[in-house]
Amino acid sequence: MDVFEKIKQAIIKVQPGIDEIKIVPAARLTEDLEIDSLTKVELALAMEDAFGFYLPDEELQNVATVGDAIALIESKMKESKLRTQNA
């Protein structure tokens, strides 16, 4: 499963009534997917479970779209790869 698909599954998990077709990279979490502040924290917890990264609040604050979430996870993956190579 690629990063987008895993995030999509996390969104469905925390917002089970959602119309899946709406979950696209350009979708805005609040305006398009109706994810409120509480559910955004649930989503962060679900993404932490899915990817195994800790996602600090300050980094999550800048996540406004599904695409932002993908970018955050991809940057975390790069960081962790570098760390593994340097180790």
């Binding site: 917002q15 089970p16 009534g17 509480l38 924290v41 649930e42 917890l45």
Partner: protein, 409 residues
């Protein structure tokens, strides 16, 4: 002039059915809703039985996201509320939004959510605790969610008075309408505390029956009673001023004619032995009404040795020799003790008694207790034309709450 207050709808989710009507049919058939605990593994518990709601599907009443972020007690309250509104044919729109309030109490609140998240806190740390923990566990969440779903925008209230909760919610809603503060109230109670900590807590307090025979364990007023059976569920009623009900052409099911509440000021779990404070609550509920008119008593009748004795004493003191002539029954013999929902379901039962002329029995009444010698409608439903009923509810903390409900005429 105070308003007359009428009941125009009710809903219930109980161990005997997922609607008020299904529950009623089982009650008058004398069926027990008590069984082995299935909601968690009770192998290590002395008490292994409960009155669980069976087959409840939250998404029949709410969207899946609401279902995910609501505790079971809130889900029960939503279901019961929507049933009540449907029966009342009540339409909430811009013309009456602020005339309609919600008062749904809970004795315990979202203890299931609290327990689950406490386990997360212990195993995975604070950063993993759900942000929904607080809104899901706080006792007012049932009322709040019902307000959000129904768009009733008058007072949104919750009341917590242990096992008197349901009766007090109806009583306070009645007073608000009576005194002209509001026209419509959705009132009732809900609880879902058949959880490890809920059962353990009541077990350790000595309140629960240790009788392993689930069909026989709840035996109010019987000599071999040894405690109550923890139950769960919700019941909610639509109360409105007679004027408003008449204005919208609503069908009227019954009238709330009195409410009395007192405190034992005595002990945090044991009822006052004399029963005097409960007598006072009955007198207050019947203020301005001839007590001789009471022709049915829906008892609190928990099946604990102390409650059933002090309640019997209170009924005798309140009604004198007539106490022996008034049919009294405890539906807890069948639905167990639904805690904060109990008084509300018992008010629904009173409405059904008034409507149908059938009194549900007290089942498992086999061995007479010389000190509990009234007419408890043993084991079989009875037909009688009932015009005025009272419903007693008492709670840990010394709450005594009595509702008087009559046929509407």
């Amino acid at each position: 002039m105070p308003n007359r207050v009428v009941i125009t709808g009710y809903g219930a989710v109980t161990p005997l059915g997922l609607t008020a009507e299904d529950t009623w049919q089982s009650l008058i058939a004398g069926k027990s809703g008590i069984g082995q605990i299935s909601l968690f593994d009770a192998a290590d518990f002395v008490v292994k039985i409960a009155a669980e709601v069976k087959g409840f599907n939250a998404v029949s009443y709410m969207d899946p996201t609401t279902a995910k972020y609501t505790d079971r007690f809130t889900q029960f309250a939503i279901a019961a509320s929507l049933q009540a509104i449907e029966q009342a044919k009540l339409k909430i729109d811009d013309s009456n939004r602020y005339d309609a309030g919600v008062l749904i109490g809970s004795g315990i609140g979202g203890v299931n959510t609290l327990s689950q998240q406490y386990a997360v806190l212990g195993t995975r740390g604070p950063a993993r605790v759900s942000p929904y923990t607080v809104p899901m566990m706080i006792a007012d969440n049932a009322a709040s969610r019902v307000s959000i779903i129904t768009k009733m925008m008058g007072p949104n209230l919750c009341l917590v008075t242990a096992c008197s909760t349901g009766a007090d919610a109806i009583g306070i809603a009645y007073q608000m309408i009576k005194h002209g503060e509001i026209k419509i109230m959705l009132a009732g109670g809900s609880d879902a505390a058949v959880t490890p900590i809920g059962v353990a807590g009541f077990q350790q307090a000595g309140a629960l029956s240790r009788n392993p025979d689930h069909q026989k364990a709840s035996r109010p007023f019987d000599a071999k009673r040894d405690g109550f059976i923890i139950g769960e569920g919700a019941a909610v009623l639509v109360l409105e001023s007679l004027d408003y009900a008449a204005h919208r052409g609503a069908g009227i099911l019954a009238e709330v004619v009195g409410y009395g509440a007192t405190s034992d000021a005595n002990h945090i779990t044991q009822p006052a032995e004399s029963g005097e404070p409960a007598v006072k609550a009955i007198e207050l509920a019947l203020a301005g009404i001839n007590p001789d008119a009471v022709d049915y008593i829906n008892a609190h009748g928990t099946s604990t040795p102390l409650n059933d004795l002090s309640e019997t004493r209170a009924i005798k003191k309140a009604f004198g020799d007539r106490a022996y002539k008034i049919p009294i029954s405890s539906i807890k013999s069948m639905v167990g003790h639904m805690l904060g929902a109990a008084g509300a379901l018992e008010a629904v039962a009173c409405c059904k008694v008034l409507e149908t002329g059938v009194i549900p029995p007290t089942i498992n009444f086999e061995y007479p207790d010389p000190e509990c010698d009234l007419d408890y409608v043993p084991n079989k439903a009875r037909t009688a034309d009932i015009r005025l009923a009272i419903s007693n509810s008492f709670g840990f903390g010394g709450h005594n709450s009595v509702l008087a409900i009559s046929k509407y005429s």
